[in-house]
């Protein structure tokens, strides 16, 4: 009886602790999490439409809106850049920056990691690089939301990357040859069952790591900024304001770097995995 009582009290205190924690972290999570509305305090809230099709909840969410914003923005910029190349060979202004990034993806990411025949993967790599970059940068704009800090979005990107890796490997080596090539040569027969499991696991851990890395990096920076600003309200003193603001600003600048680095890493690792799938003689 006494143990039951203590357990009940323990559960109650846990519940209250969780409840109080909810109140404290709610505003941080509100910034991080996806939602069904766009809120622009103090101006108001836009409620997004809910769609249910074929038993799946296909509602438009906040992150989806910012994905579309990123898509529209990058399409506009890149198509304009493509048109400017028709006019003259020499890039002008912002197109120089785009060209540096495109040439970087082509010569520093795709060409060394994939090697021969890297051109056919360039559209995917360039799109994923610019998409993550644009989404990350949009996440840094006030009132916006970082769509790449949503595990569903990064998982989707990783799924596409997984598909590109597998299809690329199969197109080069044939479906049967691709799966046979996954297992290293010269492995004793009794090791085969283990190796098959290990290699198949390896196939899925790669995109899993891609998804979690991008998600965690983009989430962490925002949580740190929020936590630093939250310090003001937790300590209830104005003296912490300069510290909080300067540290938050520092993290914000770091986020700009992280936005670039994460786009680079996702593209680089995708390219590396494509290279490994296409050229299996390792």
């Amino acid at each position: 009886m006494t143990t039951l009582d203590t357990l009940h009290t323990a559960a109650d205190s846990l519940k209250t602790a969780v409840a109080s924690k909810t109140q404290d972290t709610g505003w941080i999570m509100h910034h991080i999490l996806d939602s069904r509305e766009l809120d622009f305090p103090p101006f108001g809230v836009i409620h997004l439409p809910e769609i249910h099709l074929f038993g799946i909840d296909l509602s438009i969410t906040k992150h989806l809106v910012f994905i579309w914003l990123a898509v529209i923005l990058m399409s506009f910029i890149l198509i304009r850049a493509a048109k400017s190349y028709k006019k003259s060979r020499i890039p002008r202004g912002f197109n120089n920056v785009l060209e540096v990034l495109i040439v970087f993806v082509r010569d520093e990411i795709a060409a060394p990691t994939i090697g021969k025949g890297f051109e056919r993967f360039l559209p995917y790599l360039l799109t994923v690089f610019f998409f993550i970059l644009t989404a990350n940068f949009i996440g840094l704009v006030p009132y916006s939301s970082t769509s790449t800090s949503n595990i569903s979005v990064t998982a989707s990107l990783a799924l596409i990357s997984f598909a590109v890796i597998q299809i690329g490997g199969m197109m080069k080596n044939g479906i049967f040859g691709y799966f046979r090539g996954l297992i290293p040569h010269g492995i004793p027969a009794w090791l085969l069952p283990i190796m098959i499991i290990v290699e198949l696991l390896g196939l899925f851990t790669k995109p899993f790591a891609l998804a979690v890395r991008l998600f965690a990096n983009m989430t962490a920076g925002h949580i740190v900024i929020m936590a630093l600003l939250g310090l003001i309200f937790i300590l209830r003193t104005y003296f912490v304001v300069p510290v909080s603001i300067s540290f938050a600003l520092f993290i914000y600048l770091l986020e700009i770097l992280v936005a670039l680095i994460q786009a680079y890493i996702f593209t680089m690792l995708s390219s590396l995995f494509i290279g490994m799938a296409v050229h299996q003689e390792h």
Binding site: L78, Y85, K86, R89, I102, V103, S156
Partner: protein, 182 residues
């Protein structure tokens, strides 16, 4: 049983906590993202990546070709300079040769002319000498005739004055003969 109840309480409180966790997976959003991304990739591949990458590689090819052309032009120019230099050396040699030849020729011409003039002058001297000789001879003959005439005239005068003309002529002739013999 207690444990299961506790787990249930914790799980319940956990799900109550945020009304969502960052790790919640939303299948609808995954579907939307994949569809959006694939559409984006297809559109950008047609509208952006192909033209941009094509013009980039075209430009790289153009730059590479231009550099190669410049290098070739440089080599050609160098070759041309080398050719010019060797041609100049050759021309100089030729000129030297021509000067040498001309000098030799002029030397030859000079000596020839000198010889010729010498010969001519010698001939002229010879001619003059023979002319002088001839004239001398002529003058001598004339003188002889004149002398004879003068002598005859003188003799005539003497004879006329001496009357004994015939004797006188005979003496003179005798004298003249003697003179001629000398």
């Amino acid at each position: 049983m207690l444990l299961s109840k506790l787990i249930a309480i914790i799980a319940l409180s956990g799900s109550e906590a945020g009304g969502g966790s960052p790790l919640d997976v939303n299948p609808g959003l995954i579907l939307w993202t994949i569809v959006t991304f694939i559409l984006l990739m297809v559109i950008l591949k047609k509208a952006a990546w192909k033209p941009i990458l094509n013009s980039l590689s075209e430009r790289e090819l153009f730059i590479k070709e231009s550099l190669e052309k410049a290098e070739k032009a440089r080599i050609d120019a160098e070759k041309l300079i080398q050719d010019n230099k060797s041609a100049m050396v050759k021309a100089e040699k030729e000129a030297q040769h021509i000067i040498e030849q001309t000098r030799e020729y002029s030397e030859k011409l000079k000596s020839q002319m000198l010889d010729e003039s010498k010969a001519q002058s010698a001939k002229m001297i010879e001619d003059a000498k023979s002319e002088i000789e001839r004239k001398n001879q002529e003058a001598f003959v004339k003188l002889k005739n004149q002398v004879a005439e003068i002598a005859v005239d003188a003799a005539e005068k003497i004879i006329r004055s001496n009357l004994d003309k015939e004797k006188q002529v005979g003496i003179i002739n005798k004298y003249l003969d003697e003179l001629q013999k000398n």
